[in-house]
Every structure is written in structure tokens, then in C-alpha cells.
Symmetry: C2
Subunit: 458 residues, 2 copies
């Protein structure tokens, strides 16, 4: 069934409005990690709720609780048709380092075909395209082809506490057949992509206390413990120079991808030299020997340090032995690693590495499992078809190295699969300065989701 031409026309005639609406949403600095942005986070939630109400959704409300609110809305006037739950997030990553942005992170700026702003692709732009796809059906035909519930959270970039509580509390009463999530990327420009696997994540802070207070490195150098040196010893005790994680047992439960999956990955248009030059820009790629780059990113656990706090990092030459250092680190998990077991193994390993004279403490801030979706589920099959129709190319199935913890929660507590239909591009600078969204993908995404709704209504 082709998409109703009135809906398609609506999509094509309202592009300018869609873009302006997205810019308004991007101007709200809804950084969930920073408490000073709490009012902005609330403002973004209200913006989404107002949009749902305006297009004709019902029971629109903010689900309040301990953290940032969820935005909920529903349209359930298609009896006998399936119910699709739409998930996304309106919160964004902190924008620092600010001085590396070409245009300010919260002043959305078009350069060529790209819209630059924090949250452009992750995930405001992709939430927006789903809302506009819904709007097109409702405005042009007065109805949706299926029942739809919308649930947009504001804590995806922090601990996702609110959505986790919501899904756990309601379980199967959430009342949907599947979840649509637009928060991933296309493998290459123009190549329609469904992401079937995601890594899980453990985020932690490792704190090392040495002396009681900062000490003069001349007076005490040679006898006082140095927490930054201690962090260095711990980090090299957690990962070797080849990228192998040195936490005992960490590889025990790692499931290898199937031979069929590995073969499919080998046929993807992945140009390692171009990837190195255009996306990473370092002197070489790194990581576990004997594994392809896609394997290392998609099906292998990894350990990363994000920053080390403490000591003197200012201008000039302060000669201090810092009293304390805190490293922010994370592990990415793959099927079938258990998050709790792995978090404990990290805690134990750090304790075992405790350097002389120091006290270490590991705080686990988040822990979620990897997920892997069945490619023969009818909601996945129709998603592939909708993408194929929109982009006129065969849809590919990939995994992502990133983590969307809610996918595991929907599977475990509501018993429903997630369809990860993403419209980001590999060079969109997620979580980095100069994040962007490729505007043609905004429009293609609207059409693809519009077609998907129609196909699900058949």
C-alpha cells in the first residue's frame, strides 16, 4: 500500500515549517546532566507536549517523578489495528568543549545541507521527524493508520531513571506491540539501515585519595602517594595497550556474532581508510588484535576513560601532589554480559589494583545490558520495507556500539521488541562539538516513518 498522497504532499509542502519547528526545539539547552539546566529540560518537555496536543493527540501529559518528566500522549482510535509505542528523548549531552563549536551549540545554524546544534541528531531531530510523520497523517487524512502511544524521556543522557521506573512499573500493561526508536544512524549516506544490536553500558567514577591535602611536590615528592599516578596505574591495569580489558571474567559470557551476521558485516560498504581519515582523524585505529573494526565497535566489550578530575590543570607551573583524583570511566557491554556481574567485577578489579598509600572507591552510576533484536519480527520486516521504499535501496541490518538502555527494559519488562530506524550519519558528531543533522535525512525520515505507519495499518 503506497502512502496516501495527501499525507505525502503534506510532508513535502511543510518542510520549511518542520525545519523552523526543529530549530525552536534545539534552542532549548535541555542538558539533563547539569542541574542548572533543569528549567530548560522542563521547557523542552513542554514543547513536545504542546506539539502532540496541537496535532490531535490525547491524554497528553508530563509524567512527573524523581527526575526529569516523561512526555506521554496517545492516539488510540484505530480499533483492531496494532499499537506502536514511540520512544525518544528530548534531553541532550553537555555542549563542552564550547570553544570547539563553529556556531554556538544552542543557536541552530544551517551550513550547506546540515543543521548544526547540540541535540540536532541525538535525539531532538529524530524525535521531531517522528512527530512530523504523525502530524502529516493526522492533518492530511484526519487519522493515523494504527494506534500510537508516544513516550519521550528527558534523562537518556544521564541515568534514565524515570523511564526505567515507568517501564518496570507498567510491564505488559504498557499496551503496545512494538517500540519505534529513531535515535541511531544510517550505515552510510543514502543506505537505509535498521540497527538490530546495541551495546550496554556501565558508567562509573573511580576515586583515589592519597594524602589528606595537596602537598608540595618538592618537599614530599618521593614519599607521598600521587593519586594521578595511581589512576594511571589503575587504568593500565584495566586495559592493556592493545585494548584488551584486564578485568577477570569480563570475556566469559561474551556471545560471538553468528557467522551469517559476520558475513553480512563484511559486505557493508565500510572503507577503513576513509573511516580513519574522515571520522576518527587519528594516526591509526586501535583495539583488540584479530578482530575487524566493526566487530570491535559492535560485538566486543570496551573500556574507556572520559576524563580525570583533580590536581592542577591551569596556566603555568604549579608543583602540587594532588590529594585526590577522580576518573570517569565506562565499559560497553555486548550480549550476553550481565551488567551487575560486570559492574562488581570492575569494582573488585579496581580494589585489587589499589596502589600503595592510596584508598580507592568505585561508584557505579549506571549499568545496562546489551540488546539484540530478531530480524524476522513483522514490525522489523515492515520497517525494512518502509525504508526500502523511501530510499529506493535494500535496507541493511547493522549493530551499533552505542547504548540505548531502554531497549533492554522494553524487552525484559513489557515483552516487546524495539525497531531502531535511524537517520543520523556517521559524521554527525554525536556527543561532540559541532553535532549536526543532515537536513535531507530529516525529510526522508518523516516520509519513511509515515510509510511505516501506513504499512503497519495494512
Amino acid at each position: 500500500m503506497p502512502l496516501d498522497s495527501r499525507v505525502l504532499d503534506y510532508y513535502r509542502f511543510h518542510r520549511e515549517e518542520f525545519l523552523e519547528g526543529l530549530k525552536s526545539l534545539l534552542r532549548i539547552p535541555s542538558v539533563s546532566a547539569l542541574s542548572e539546566h533543569k528549567p530548560d529540560v522542563l521547557r523542552a518537555a513542554g514543547f513536545i507536549a504542546d506539539d502532540l496536543t496541537a496535532m490531535g493527540f490525547q491524554a497528553v501529559r508530563l509524567v512527573e517523578g524523581k527526575g526529569h518528566p516523561l512526555v506521554y500522549g496517545e492516539w488510540l482510535q484505530a480499533p483492531g489495528k496494532p499499537t506502536l509505542l514511540i520512544y525518544g528523548h528530548y534531553d541532550v549531552q553537555p555542549p563542552d568543549p564550547l570553544d570547539e563549536w563553529v556556531s554556538p551549540p544552542f543557536e541552530p545554524t544551517l551550513r550547506g545541507d546540515n543543521l548544526y546544534a547540540r541535540g540536532a541528531v541525538d535525539d531532538k531531530g529524530q524525535v521531531w521527524l517522528v512527530l512530523k510523520a504523525l502530524e502529516g497523517h493526522l492533518k492530511a487524512s484526519g487519522r493515523l493508520p494504527i494506534n500510537v502511544k508516544v513516550l519521550i524521556e528527558g534523562e537518556e543522557e544521564v541515568d534514565g531513571g524515570m523511564i526505567a521506573a515507568y517501564v518496570k512499573e507498567r510491564g505488559r500493561d504498557i499496551g503496545a506491540d512494538a517500540v519505534l526508536i529513531c535515535d541511531t544512524e544510517m550505515f552510510a549516506p543514502g543506505l537505509p539501515t535498521l540497527t538490530t544490536g546495541l551495546r550496554g553500558i556501565i558508567y562509573a567514577e573511580i576515586e583515589v585519595q592519597g594524602a589528606r591535602t595537596d602537598l608540595h611536590s618538592g618537599m614530599y615528592g618521593g614519599v607521598a602517594p600521587n593519586p594521578h599516578q595511581a589512576i594511571a596505574e589503575i587504568l593500565t591495569g584495566l586495559k592493556d595497550a592493545d585494548g584488551r580489558i584486564l578485568i577477570p571474567g569480563v570475556y566469559d559470557d561474551v556471545a560471538e556474532p553468528s557467522e551469517a551476521e559476520k558475513e553480512a558485516w563484511a559486505t557493508l560498504p565500510f572503507d577503513e581508510a576513509a573511516f580513519l581519515a574522515n571520522e576518527v582523524g587519528s594516526t591509526s585505529l586501535t583495539g583488540e588484535p584479530g578482530r575487524s573494526s566493526l566487530e570491535r565497535m559492535w560485538s566486543r566489550p570496551t573500556f574507556e576513560v572520559h576524563g580525570i578530575r583533580g590536581g592542577f590543570v591551569g596556566e603555568g607551573a604549579k608543583t602540587v601532589i594532588p590529594a585526590k583524583a577522580v576518573a570517569k570511566v565506562s565499559l560497553r557491554l555486548v550480549p550476553d554480559m550481565d551488567p551487575e556481574k560486570t559492574a562488581q567485577a570492575l569494582v573488585d578489579r579496581v580494589k585489587a589494583l589499589e596502589p600503595k598509600g592510596c584508598r580507592v572507591q568505585t561508584r557505579i552510576m549506571a549499568a545496562s545490558a546489551a540488546s539484540l533484536a530478531p530480524t524476522d519480527h513483522p514490525f522489523v520486516v515492515k520497517a525494512a520495507e518502509a525504508l526500502h521504499e523511501t530510499f529506493d535501496r535494500q535496507t541493511v541490518y547493522i549493530r551499533s556500539g552505542g547504548s540505548i538502555p531502554v531497549v533492554g527494559l522494553f524487552q525484559r519488562y513489557a515483552g516487546i521488541p524495539s525497531v531502531l530506524m535511524g537517520f543520523g550519519l556517521p559524521d554527525d558528531n554525536l556527543h561532540a562539538p559541532n553535532e549536526k543533522f543532515h537536513v535531507p535525512n530529516l525529510y526522508a525520515g518523516i516520509e519513511a516513518v509515515g510509510r511505516y505507519l501506513a504499512l503497519l495499518g495494512e
Copy 2:
């Protein structure tokens, strides 16, 4: 010859004024490392110059140049008597971490017998006691027992460029027989101390560049180099867990202290358990096995990391692979290590440790040699006598793990020894929050320097 009783009376009757004057000097945040404090640094220089003029010094002026000015003044009306050059510094270390100060760093505050402020002991308090010792002679007897030149710099906590240029340019024309420096500490409360050895220092920044820009640790974790992990590998490649420096050749030129010196150190009242508990406050001391704590601090080279810049260290959980990391590090040098040779060895070692996918660069910010003074020089002998008279205890000779690069410069270019007569205490929190000066040592220091001047005039 006892000190003229009028001078001694002057010292004892003006204690309150001396303390208030020091407080005024301490209120000036003359942080030489931070460019925004340049006006304060100039203000502190002017404060010293005004004090010299007020007490009757001549040719008082600010020696201007590329960096912060030197304050110069002279009193040369004792023909036939020796000339003592007095050196000190009016600049201070940055005060961070600010939140660990009990009272604000630039609001000098008395608690018990201690005056708390940045620079209280290092070195404003000790510069002040020398000035007040001079003032006592001039005000009470109308003259000084010897000729005196005063040279106070404003870059001791950074690169000391101005004083180095001054000493190198003038060489022996500097026209003095010895230098008096009050910028060290007493080995124990009430124990008069001369410091005969100082360590040198190399200060450097190690910069590691990985990817072109910050990357998402989910998407790129497993293939992108992590500069913070790279810094950890470099740091553990520069120093092992026992505190041994791993730079090839670094121990080749290290001179062992004489047996006599080691024996004298063994008789010092050093209580390692108390030192650990009261000064360091960590779970244990660290450092090279097979060496005493005093040896490790005084006669062995050490390597320390002061802080690591880059990445995300804020609140919450940002999942970024930083593009760049910069470690601020230093090496302390002992006799007879060559600073240039050691700096090159550090640069070479870091280059050799360059982790895969990263580019490293080492910037040497400062390099100065260790120094060791002869204990039988008449200026040293009389200093020991002045201290003995003031404190009524035998003076001990120690070394310090810290660095006063100018000592080496005076020796090398002007051919004169430095007498390091210090009045700090081991728990004065140099370079750390809650720096203090023990007020009784301010008064004892004034008397001791007053007596020293008298003894030199005999």
C-alpha cells in the same frame, strides 16, 4: 658580639606593627602564574619597594623587563664590611582548590599562633622578616652592620626568567659576598636549621592528541585512540609502582650523599609514623625501596604528575572519548644531574612511549639544577651561630626536596654561595590550601636575621 639592645628592643616593641604589615602584603593576590593577577603582582612589588624606601634604603627601584619586575634596593654605607645580597620572592602559588581553604587565601586570618594565607610562609612572611630585621637596625641604630643589597623577585613560582637574566647579565658585578635566602623551613619546631642542599626541577607538559575531535565512546569505543588512556600508559612508563623513574640514564649521574651526611640525617628527630600521620595523612608512605624517607625526599630524583587536562570531568555521565589530554608533570633533580640532558631524556622517553594512534609532544617549561652548599663557608658558619643564639639550640644542616633555582644561578654566574636560613614549619601547607606561617617564627626569624647581620659586621 650580642645584638645591640636598642635593635632587639625595636624588634620586641614592634611585633604588632610587623604582623599588620605582613597581613597587608598577604592581602595582595600576587599569583604570578595567572595573567589576570598581573596588576596584583605589580602591586606587591610596589609594596616591597615602598617598605625599603621608608626604612632608608637607597637606589630603590623596580627592575623591569619581559616578566614581572624585580625589586632592588641597597644600603652600602659600611665601608670595609662585607656585602650581603638578600633574595626572596613576592609572588605566590595559585590558591586553588579554593573550597578547601578554611579562611579565604587572600584574607590573612589568625587562628591560634598561626597566620593563614597564600604566601604566608612561601615567601612573603619570610621576605617580611628579613625586611623587618633590616628596619630594626636602621631605625634603632641608624645604620646596618654590613652592606646590604636586596633583590626580591616576582616569578619564583613560575619560570624565574627575570632574576635568571639579571644574574646571568651581571655575573660577578652583582657585587656581593653571599646571598641570604629565607624561603625554606626548620626541620622541627624550635630546631634551628640551615638547608645546604636543594633539588633542581624540570617542569613539563605532555600533550597527547588522539582523534581529531571528541568522539562518542559507544560509537567509536574499540577503534579510536583514547588520549587519557594513552597518558596513563605514558605515566606508568615514566615511573613504576615503587617510585623508580623509568627514563633511561636518569640515575647515571646521581651523586650519593656522603656517609657523614647520611649519618647526620639519621640523628635528626624524624618520626616517620608522626610524619605520615600529621603531614601526609595517607595510608602509607611510598617511594623507592631500600632508601630512607629523608633520602627519597632529599637526595633522590623523583617524578610527579600534577594534573591531567581534557575530557569530561563535570557532574553526571558524559560518554566521550576525548580528542586530547595534557599532563602537567615534573622531575626533581639531585646533584650531579644535568637539567638539559635530563629534559632531553624525558622528551625522548615520552616519544618512545607514544601509544598507537596518538601523537605526543613534550613541552619543557623550566629546567634547573640541584645545589649543594659548603658547610664550612664563614657566611654559613655565622648563620648557624645566629640561629643557635636565637633558638638556644645547636643548628642542624639538612637538605630540602624543593627547588630554588636561583641558588644555582648565584653560584654559577656570580660565584657566591647562598645561605638558606628558613623559618617555615613542616606542616605549613606550602603550595596547598590553608598555607600558614607560625607567628612566633616570624618574630624569632627577625631576631635571628638581626643577629646574623651583627655577626657578619664583626
